[in-house]
Symmetry: C2
């Protein structure tokens, strides 16, 4: 578990997009974001107060989060200088970079000397159990996609926010590095050893109040041959009560797989629901989340209306039109 | 890749069952088994020549394989003495024990000093790629089960033997520790990191002659919530042309999951085939392999006849009645 709140390190980000992890934290957990730390030449700006390390400590920040992608996959000397100072000032460090903090001997040495923690959220920090399939109390919803990267994390975060807003009990359960940095904990599922995948999802979503919802972040797709095993573990480890189908209607082919067409929403429903019912016979498909970013507004509304009529389920783009329809469907379950 | 042939180490096995890995090697790759090494009190006997280390070396053995389960999960001092001598005599060591050889400093030191290899087949030795889904040449068959431990490995090894006997080109592709020790290589799929599972199966079953069959060892079950993600990766990474349904008809519940009933063969067929066709649209279910060990002969024959009629597919128990029906179905594909 990463100590909050954070100082968001933007480094020398070449553009706003490079800081998308920091942006996600600021958008979804603004209370976790005390301020931003920008180096010379930084082209990203979250609109947060610019702070140096001492100011951020005084404002309560406990962890410096690397909220920016690094160039060339290495932690530069210029970054390193700031990271060492941050440890010395009393910050833990958290990162989702491929280049692990723990693989940098100087950071490890300073962290040990100062009694600080280094969190590499790409790497599991827990010994997960093997899944036992025992039915847990509380409710769970999982977004499953026709493809990878169709907006499953966004859908889950938006649902969580809307459900809390509506006075419902909910917790976003992160299963990827960005989600883990946003909330401060979760399971880096793509890095878990095969035998423990489903168990890690059970661990992440334990018994809870009968009216509490775990909003489990989806990964991969049953139709994406590179990552379908990860999706399968989410469906069986998460034992969801509700599935939401996620789709991006303008793609030519599955992400990274030129020979593979996207399935229809009907095909996704017909594949995912029987699999989910192995772990939870009461599971239902409750709605559809569509990423319409490549459509005009009229086109997007027409598409959603057509999908609603065709599948007989509420459909929305949570980013563009809100997620109230999906919240209502979950509340009615 | 483990150097063959082997000297099979049976240690102080308390009974024959404890030596089942060694038995598997002797049954399926007799050419790999030069002899057996038994310590005082050993209650297992494979019917191979008893040899000391020097005799086995003289007979050509290159690796001492620990073909027995250890008691209490630790490598005893008595075993250790033999293992150290084996390294000094010029043997590599191979083991599927939980207690890794590489975690024993004295074995590591002697292996380094003597230039010998320690193979822990529970641990991947390769950096696998992420699956790319590109169609490969050659043919592949995978057994998928209604449950774990219903005879998928046995079915695959029996098919491989029968296909070679029939003059067909085939290779058994091991995906578990026993299979890896039997053949000398393979992928320990349950220990592979999630993102690389399907890629490891692609790596294991590369392009081949158009008339060559890879017989891929199955793992887990789509209906077993603890391990279904591993099964999914086999189905999509293996891109099988043919599926064989495996079943054990007398089980009360899924292995290790008291609340879970076994699916029917029809349910398995209807779940597995559409998933397999994502990676290989030409995939067909070609036959059924039933583990009838808990049935009398008349009962077993009646059950197989009933299943054949019900599903319209050839059904056999490969251990009891041979696998010719399945070979014929594959040859006809």
């Amino acid at each position: 578990m990463i100590k909050t709140p954070y100082l968001l390190f933007l480094g020398d980000a070449p553009d706003q997009l490079a800081a998308k992890v920091a942006q996600g934290i600021k958008d979804w957990r603004p209370d976790n974001a005390v301020g931003q730390y920008r180096m010379e030449g930084c082209k990203a700006d979250l609109g947060l107060a610019d702070m140096d390390l001492a100011q951020a400590r005084a404002a309560g920040a406990r962890t410096l989060v690397i909220g920016v992608a690094n160039r060339g996959g290495v932690i530069s000397a210029a970054w390193k200088k700031v990271l060492v100072m941050a440890l010395e000032e009393g910050f833990d460090l958290a990162s989702g970079l491929h280049n692990l903090l723990r693989d940098e001997p100087d950071l490890v040495a300073v962290a040990e000397a100062c009694g600080r923690d280094l969190h590499d959220v790409r790497v599991p920090e827990v010994e997960y159990p093997i899944a036992n399939g025992v039915k847990r109390t509380g409710k769970r919803v999982l977004a499953v996609g026709t493809d990878c990267s169709v907006g499953k994390m966004y859908t889950a975060l938006a649902l969580d926010a809307a459900m809390r807003e509506a006075g419902m009990k909910s917790t976003f359960r992160a299963t990827g590095q960005t989600g883990i940095l946003i909330t401060g904990d979760g399971v880096p599922l793509d890095a878990v050893v095969a035998d423990f995948m489903a168990g890690s999802v059970e661990w992440l979503t334990p018994d809870n109040d009968p009216d509490h919802w775990d909003i489990i972040e989806g990964q991969g797709s049953l139709f994406h041959v590179s990552y379908s095993g990860v999706t399968m573990a989410l469906i069986h480890g998460g034992q969801p009560d509700a599935l939401i189908l996620s789709h991006e209607p303008t793609r030519d082919h599955m992400r990274g797989l030129p020979g593979y067409a996207l399935p229809t929403l009907e095909a996704l429903r017909d594949m995912a629901l029987p699999l989910a019912r192995v772990a939870n016979p009461a599971c239902e498909v409750v709605g559809i989340s569509v990423n319409t970013q490549h459509m005009g507004e009229a086109e997007a509304r027409a598409y959603l209306a057509e999908v609603e009529a065709r599948l007989g389920l509420p459909a929305t783009d949570p980013f563009r039109f809100g997620s109230d329809k999906l919240v209502a469907a979950l509340a009615a379950l």
